[in-house]
């Protein structure tokens, strides 16, 4: 098991958000955490990364506990997070943003850069442009590209489709599918449920801070309660 979250309780100050959440991802697997706004999806990912501390429960990654680690330490272990806000460096160029993603491993940077630019040809076209001048879709590609530059074992994405035009979303999910078929482990949260279920092997439904349902993504796609709540069909 590459990522194992067990009995996680977490929140902001006195406001508890997550109650006894357990999820796991095998190496090479893609999993999705779906659910409505405010269900605690972002809180879950931030707690895994060490940006928030858990009040109870544990996060195991690659056989070790991540308890007490800072986000940069988690990132260095190969668990790399792309937040919904993307957190790019707006006045630095596309290339500089990518370079910083690989700053721990300068020797591998050139080769990884080739791969990232091959995956996202649009970033190649805009390599000298400042990150702040990119479109939303391009910024999301840059955020994912920067994460890939670290040579991650697990790529964690928080609602990658947020704020993107439908065409950009489709392009992004094609690229994520390519990463998955290359063997990268992917953990993502998403509100666009059909896309997320089509990409992933398994999925968890998070509602009001607790896992309500989980299973194979293809099964969940046919589940009546999912259809009703998330797919807009009766």
């Amino acid at each position: 098991m590459l990522v194992r979250v067990e009995g996680l309780h977490a929140g902001y100050g006195l406001a508890a958000v997550l109650h006894d959440v357990s999820i796991e991802a095998h190496a090479g697997e893609a999993i999705a955490v779906i659910g409505p706004n405010g269900a605690g999806k972002t809180t879950l990912l931030k707690t895994i990364m060490g940006m928030l501390s858990a009040t109870r429960g544990s996060v195991q990654y690659d056989g070790r506990s991540l308890e007490g680690m800072r986000p940069y330490q988690v990132a260095r272990l190969g668990l790399v997070y792309v937040p919904a806000e993307r957190e790019l460096f707006p006045t630095m160029t596309v290339l500089e943003n990518l370079e910083l993603g690989a700053f721990r491993d300068v020797r591998a940077a050139a080769e990884r850069l080739q791969r990232v630019l091959a995956l996202f040809p649009r970033l190649d076209e805009r390599r000298r442009q400042l990150a702040g001048t990119l479109s939303g879709g391009e910024q999301q590609m840059l955020a994912i590209g920067r994460a890939l530059m670290a040579g991650p074992k697990v790529l964690m994405l928080d609602e990658p489709s947020t704020g993107l035009a439908p065409k950009a979303v489709a392009e992004l999910y094609r690229q994520l599918a390519r990463l998955k078929s290359d063997g990268l482990t992917i953990v993502l949260t998403e509100q666009q449920v059909p896309l997320a279920l089509a990409l992933t092997d398994r999925a968890y439904v998070l509602e009001q801070g607790a896992i309500h349902l989980s299973g194979r993504s293809s099964d969940l796609m046919g589940d009546p309660s999912i259809k009703k709540a998330y797919l807009g069909v009766m």
Binding site: M49, M51, R70, P71, Y72, A75, R76, V80, Y81, V82, P83, R86, E87, L88, F89, P90, T91, M92, E96, E99, L100, G101, F103, R104, V106, G132, R146, A147, A150
Partner: protein, 285 residues
């Protein structure tokens, strides 16, 4: 006229050198260092002590700068540790109080140990003509040093990976951390670097004028003014603001006197804040 202008530029470059450290520490660490002028004085005083102990002036200058850097490292690793545990406004306020206290301690200690002290490097002060204006070589040397330091700083921030990580933290600390960058270690490095640049300003001050132990608060105030006018996160803004305020100061001191010059400097700072709240060269306001 031209003589006053040149004099202003010389002084202004010194101010920039002093202020850029305030800019970097604020941009990277979220702490406004109210003891920054004292870093400069400590550097200058240490250099002077070495000179009087018979050390070659160049080595003494290097020693003084290293001493300022050491002080920066100590302050970052001890005094500022509690401030770094907090974020945003809490860190800023705690940092203000801690560094203000530190400035009192340094001022007191220096005035007690070295009363009536003044540093001047007794170098051959030849005059040269620049565009028909006689200038002291020491002023030119001080300016050349400041320009070289700035050129080095720009190249470092722009072209080296370490410099880029520094810029990335100034721009977006959360994003930098997601790249695996340790903001704490980089912060320590930048405090040391900033203190050393203050040390250079202190030493070069002794080169073309004199440096007294009581000058810390004045340096801090001027440095803060320059940093604010330049935009407290912009290095090139700080350079421009230092030169600009240096020129304003030189003209004001010449025509209306030193006291009114201060008022004019403050007015210039206020005007900038009103017109360009994020600083002279701010790209994003």
């Amino acid at each position: 006229m031209t003589a006053i202008l040149l004099d202003g530029i010389v002084q202004g470059l010194q101010l920039s050198l002093l202020a850029v450290g305030i800019t970097l520490i604020y941009g990277l660490g979220g702490v406004l260092n109210l003891a920054h002028g004292q870093f400069a004085v400590v550097g200058g005083v240490a250099a002077a002590i070495l000179v009087s102990a018979g050390v070659h002036p160049l080595a003494a200058a290097a020693g003084g700068i290293a001493c300022a850097g050491l002080l920066g490292w100590l302050v970052d690793r001890t005094l500022l540790v509690p401030a770094y545990r907090y974020h945003g406004e809490d860190r800023l306020l705690l940092g203000l109080i801690l560094t203000l206290g530190l400035s009192f301690v340094i001022d007191g200690a220096l005035n007690y140990k070295f009363p009536e002290f003044s540093l001047t490097f007794r170098l051959p002060l030849a005059m040269v003509e620049v565009g028909g204006i006689p200038m002291r070589t020491a002023s030119l040397a001080a300016s050349a040093i400041a320009i070289a330091v700035f050129a080095g700083l720009f190249a470092f921030l722009r072209f080296t990976l370490l410099g880029k990580t520094i810029r990335s933290i100034i721009e977006n600390e959360a994003g930098a951390e997601l790249c695996g960058i340790d903001p704490g270690r980089t912060r320590t490095l930048i405090v040391i670097l900033a203190a050393m640049m203050a040390g250079i300003a202190g030493v070069t001050q002794g080169l073309f004028s004199s440096l007294g132990t009581e000058m810390g608060p004045e340096f801090t105030t001027l440095g803060l003014l320059v940093a604010v006018v330049g935009g407290v996160r912009s290095v090139n803004g700080t350079l421009a603001a230092g030169v600009l305020l240096g020129i304003v100061n030189a003209f004001a001191s010449h025509y209306v006197g030193a006291y009114v010059a201060y008022i004019l400097l403050l007015s210039a700072a206020m005007a900038t804040i009103l017109v360009r709240p994020a600083g002279l060269l701010a790209r994003f306001t």
